[in-house]
């Protein structure tokens, strides 16, 4: 066998007779998937431990035979090695590939096994598909069609189990639909570190429940809904809202913290229905926090700023922009308040505006909270590192804008261009803001919007595209999922127009065109928006090692601070 272990450290296995090179220790489901063969499975999840309880992944295994007496390989008549298949099937999820192993994924025995497993799973399964939220993305539905008998022999009374049970604030459980795969239990134990789920009773009476007095209420509870292969666990927020087959998926990023979880935004006809995690093994695996899934409510929130305003009078975007340019040209002593929620492109445009107007100060508002060591970090701004890399700022932002306040009081600052920030919440007073010409670009109307000379209605992250740099210095893209309100203007278009008018030179106002200058030199050299892959690209952040970043350890992130401290 050792002669098979070639230099690359890979081993050969044979899937339905076809040779596949794979890393030792890979399980058979993954090996088959690497060559595009699906072995149906329910309980196996690539990011959880293997429990091997559903038996859907049964395959036939065999090894080349050896003569017991002589130790020589056994050969067929045509000289090929004779494969000795084990008499019974084995589970693919719990078996790791071994050198020269032969795997049958499509033999009669395997097919019969799958049919048998499916029949048993369906024996007590309710006929709920028409009212089940999972329909359309249900593994049981899919595999019953592809690997089931197509008819039922079960004439007995089906078991009844608790239905419409609330497991926690965001999760509903229907026990009749549960196929007892234990994915949700393993997730709570292994990832969320909040062991609250378990099975009670035996045999066909087995039932998933919460431990007495507990609730599934951790900030990762909705991941159980994602990984539940059936409709047993459903989200209370998404429940009965829309069928999944109507929804369009757009790749996005969780804006909540600097972790930058990869997400998918599901919408239909311009309305967002849910946000789910998107797999990225270097950032968030297949998980995301529940808090990030609610961000889409921003789009239709009550305080949404849908129409631009000049002196509290509603105007068209172009009027608002020309008024903004006018104010900016008229006033010296401009301060810019950017945001860690802006994309890299917008921060770059802001930086250019700061250069053109010779701004007396550029600020970012820091947002810091508690981290949970998984996928919520201390830094609640998703793109502080982007602001550092574009050169908009050169130190970490503070939570309060008191320095700017002092400059207003001293009369040094006479105008403020603020993007995506509520200045009153950031520590400035209404009186201070009334002293200056405030131009704000935002999606919500805040108390500070009321004193703004010009309020430009911008777009939420779901309505525009761009790139963010997360805590690992990984640049990742988010894409427009739904159109914005008709009275609003794209942030980048707004900033681009302002810069073009101020400088008298043309300035790009689309994401793709702005990357022509961004990618020319500096930290993003050689990149373009297209060339950033969906998994993101790790940038060199060593230039910022001396900054005291606040993030602690999380799922795929180790802070560098110790290294700095040790020096």
């Amino acid at each position: 066998m050792s002669d098979d272990q070639k230099d690359d450290g890979l081993i050969s296995v044979f899937i339905d007779g076809e040779e596949v090179r794979t890393k030792p220790g890979t399980n058979i489901i993954e090996v088959a998937a690497s060559v595009g063969k699906e072995i149906p499975h329910y309980c196996y999840h690539p990011k959880l431990s293997v429990s091997g309880n559903c038996r859907m992944c049964l395959v036939e295994l065999g090894m080349p035979g050896k003569d017991r007496a002589t130790g020589k390989p056994m050969l067929n008549d045509d000289g090929s090695p004779k494969i000795m298949f084990f008499p019974g099937p084995a589970i693919g999820c719990g078996t790791n590939a071994a050198p020269n192993m032969h795997i049958k994924t499509d033999s009669d025995m395997v097919k019969e096994c799958r049919e048998g497993v499916t029949e048993f799973l369906l024996a007590n399964h309710p006929l709920d598909c028409p009212i089940c939220d999972q329909a359309g993305e249900c593994r049981l539905q899919e595999f019953s069609t592809s690997h089931g008998a197509g008819y039922s022999r079960f004439v007995e009374q089906k078991n009844v189990k608790p239905k419409r049970t609330r497991l926690g604030p965001r999760v509903m459980l229907d026990d009749e639909r549960c196929i007892l795969c234990s994915r949700c239990i393993r997730f709570c134990q292994e990832v969320a570190d909040d062991d609250v789920l378990g099975f009670t009773d035996r045999g066909s009476y087995s039932t998933l429940t919460c431990f007495p007095g507990k609730q599934l209420e951790n900030n990762y509870s909705l991941n159980t809904v994602d990984i539940c292969p059936v409709g047993a666990l459903t989200s209370t927020d998404f429940r009965f809202k829309m069928r999944v087959w109507f929804l369009k998926q757009v790749k996005s990023i969780d804006f909540e913290t600097s972790v930058g979880c990869n997400t998918e935004v599901w919408s239909r006809e311009g309305k967002i229905y849910r946000i789910t995690p998107r797999r990225n093994d270097a950032v968030n695996d297949t998980w995301m926090p529940d808090s990030g899934r609610e961000l889409y409510k921003l789009v239709e929130s009550d305080d949404r700023l849908e129409i631009c305003q000049v002196d509290q009078v509603k105007v068209s975007p172009s009027e608002a922009l020309s008024k903004a340019v006018e104010l900016l040209q008229a006033s010296d002593g401009l301060a810019i308040v950017g945001s860690g929620r802006c994309s890299v492109e917008e921060q770059y445009a802001l930086k250019k505006i700061a250069e053109t107007t010779k701004a007396v100060g550029v600020y970012l508002v820091g947002r810091y909270g508690e981290d949970d060591g998984i996928l919520v970090s201390k830094d609640r701004n998703p793109n502080v590192r982007g602001a550092l890399m574009t050169g908009l700022i050169d130190s970490l932002p503070e939570e309060s804008l008191s320095e700017l306040g002092a400059k207003i009081d001293s009369g040094e600052v006479k105008a403020i261009l603020s993007v995506k920030e509520d200045l009153i919440a950031a520590g400035l007073s209404k009186a201070q803001l009334q002293k200056v010409a405030l131009i704000s670009l935002d999606t919500q109307s805040y108390p500070s919007t009321e004193v703004a000379k010009v309020a430009i209605a911008g777009l939420t992250p779901f309505e525009r595209s761009g790139a963010l740099v997360n805590q690992q210095f990984r640049i990742q893209k988010f894409h427009k999922a739904v159109p914005g309100p008709s009275g609003a203007v794209d942030d980048l278009v707004a900033l681009g127009t302002i810069q073009a008018n101020l400088s008298g030179e043309s300035f790009p106002s689309t994401v793709a065109s702005i990357w022509k200058s961004l990618g020319e030199s500096g930290p993003f050299e050689g990149l373009s928006f297209q060339s950033i892959s969906d998994e993101g690209i790790l940038l060199d952040g060593t230039g910022f090692d001396s900054l005291p970043f606040v993030e602690g350890k999380s799922l795929h992130f180790e802070p560098k601070q110790e290294a700095v401290a040790a020096e």
Binding site: P130, I131, R164, Y205, F240, R243
Partner: protein, 177 residues
């Protein structure tokens, strides 16, 4: 090349015209007594053959429960996208086990092509193309049948499955052990 047809000269009988008039009148007289081929629409209406595909409607079961569970399969399958459903949760205790029913259900009859796919796909036998074939209105809005109108047109389906009622009874009876 042009062909010149020679016209036969008329004979005496033909010149008289009388036989033709008599023949014409006898045809008229025959049809005056023969059974009618036309009908006095709209006072009179034709009999509708079985399996006719008229206006799609929603039906209730014999106990008055709305059969549709807003699974939205008909909305998905409808080729001209005439159907629009907003699903909702059932609040009343009696049918809580059915969980889902349409909050709103619109069929735009200016779009509907009477294909019957919705009836075909419905897993709950809740939508039926029945005998009603004439829809008219003065505005586009009038031509959209809402949920209320659809149930009014649909009436009751006398089927005796009672799937959800049986499930509820099984739930109440509990397991065998």
């Amino acid at each position: 090349m042009a062909i010149i047809l020679k016209r036969k000269p008329l004979n005496l009988l033909e010149k008289l015209y009388l036989p033709q008039i008599v023949a014409g009148l006898s045809t008229t007289l025959k049809h005056m007594v023969a059974p009618k081929e036309t009908m006095e629409y709209p006072e009179e209406r034709p009999p509708i053959p079985k399996g006719y595909r008229g206006v799609p409607t929603l039906v209730k079961d014999p106990e008055g429960r709305e059969k549709c569970v807003s699974c939205q399969l008909c909305e998905f399958v409808c080729p001209p996208k005439a159907i629009r459903i907003i699903p909702g949760e059932i609040q009343d205790e009696e049918h809580a086990n059915v969980e889902k029913a349409p909050k709103e259900f619109d069929i735009d009859m200016l779009r509907c092509i009477y294909c019957g796919m919705c009836e075909e796909v419905c897993p709950e036998e809740a939508i039926w193309l029945q005998n009603q074939y004439s829809m008219s209105g003065y505005s586009r809005e009038e031509m959209v049948n809402n949920k209320e109108k659809l149930y009014e047109l649909g009436g009751t389906l006398p089927d005796q499955h009672f799937k959800w009622k049986k499930k509820k009874e099984a739930e109440a009876a509990g397991n065998a052990h």
